[in-house]
Amino acid sequence: MAAPTDPMHQFQIQKIVELPTVNVFGQAIDLSITNSVAAMLLAAFLIITFYTLAAKRAVVPGRLQTVGEMLYGLVDGLAESIIGHDGKKYLPFIFTIFAFVLFCNLQGMLFGWSGTFAGFTATSQLAVTLTLGLLVILTVVAVGVVKNGFKFFKLFAPSGVPWPLYFLLVPIEILSFLIRPVTLALRLFGNMLGGHVVLKIFAGFVIALGSIGLVGLLGSVVALLSVTALTALEFMVAFLQAFVFAVLTCVYLNDVVHLDSH
């Protein structure tokens, strides 16, 4: 194993199963199963297992079913309140995004002790968050074009504005639209990266300070308490970022679903 005190080491991609590299459009794509890929596979596996166990049709739900229905109800309420009645159609997509991000985030918090891929936070990988962001925005574009046809481009030209303003407004709208996947990706990536690094650094302090005498021991205790508090905070952030991702997905979908009222 590599040095565990390097706070960046936890983000290092490592191959678990070697698979061949393929060339697509001149791009070499290494299909090996890495710790990041394995963590994502685990997340998907856990979501499916969880919902297979939780999706019982009991009128009086058990604990697992209650939690499962609560998460579903949360996203359902979100889609309903932001998109309205049409939200039901996009609920599976929003829910998949939410559940995937949530499980990826939480795995890093829950299984970190294992020292294996299970504790790897796939959502701290820019490649992953950027793909998710692009997935969301491309879905938004697809939904917008399918639903509104050519009128989709009205999104960039809000009505009720004096026409000279369009010279200013349209470029801004286009820019703000193009920047959406980037902000989606960077927000999630930054939160996961920052939180994990801070945790690791403070945890490093616990050991480093503890080994340099009495005053150091005091600092070590402070650092330990900080790590404890930060861990609780990180759990909240893990949930909150998944929630924010889902909320923004709803908001962006709503823009194109209700283009007329834009």
Binding site: D6, H9, A28, I48, A55, L126, V128
Partner: protein, 179 residues
């Protein structure tokens, strides 16, 4: 051994077995392709399983529960309404029965008092009859007695006249003098 480019944490040796290009491990672009392809694959499978199999089950359970609760509440409301109607009917019946009972009692009272009055009248009539009969008897007896008084007076007068005059007065004279 790739310890060169780790910014502030250079002192810690980090023998990343891999081709660490330095800086953020997230920016080692040779790992991007694999992650993106795998993510799309995993996401597609997850989306398919959730949207086609699992989420319909969850929403079905929630809807069933909602329908069951709504149905049960509707049932309860219906039963309550029914019970209310029945209670109202029962109250009406009780009121009717009470009115009937009061009427019956009043009727019986009236009948009883009428009968009593009739009986009293009959009794009174009998008594009155008896009284008048008795009065008649008394009248007769008095008349008789009065008649006797006349005869006695006539006799006495005849005797007195005879004693005084020495001769008996005729019956006609006596009668005329006593009238």
């Amino acid at each position: 051994m790739a310890t060169e480019h780790h910014g502030t944490v250079e002192t810690t040796e980090a023998p990343h077995g891999q081709e660490s290009s330095g800086g953020l491990p997230q920016l080692q672009f040779q790992h991007w392709g694999g992650q993106i392809v795998w993510l799309l694959l995993i996401f597609a499978v997850l989306y398919a399983v959730l949207s086609k199999v699992l989420l319909p089950k969850v929403s079905g359970a929630i809807e069933e529960r909602g329908a069951k609760i709504a149905g049960d509440i509707a049932d309860a409301r219906r039963l309550k309404d029914e019970a209310e109607v029945q209670a109202r009917a029962a109250a009406a019946e009780v009121a009717e029965a009470r009115a009937k009972a009061q009427k019956t009692a009043a009727d019986a009272k009236a009948k009883a008092s009428a009968e009593a009055a009739e009986r009293q009248a009959k009794e009174e009539a009998v008594l009155a009859e008896k009284l008048s009969a008795a009065e008649a008897r008394i009248q007769v007896a008095r008349d008789e007695a009065m008649g006797h008084v006349r005869a006695v007076a006539s006799e006495t007068a005849g005797a007195i006249v005879e004693k005084l005059t020495g001769k008996a007065a005729s019956a006609a004279e006596l009668k005329a003098s006593l009238a």
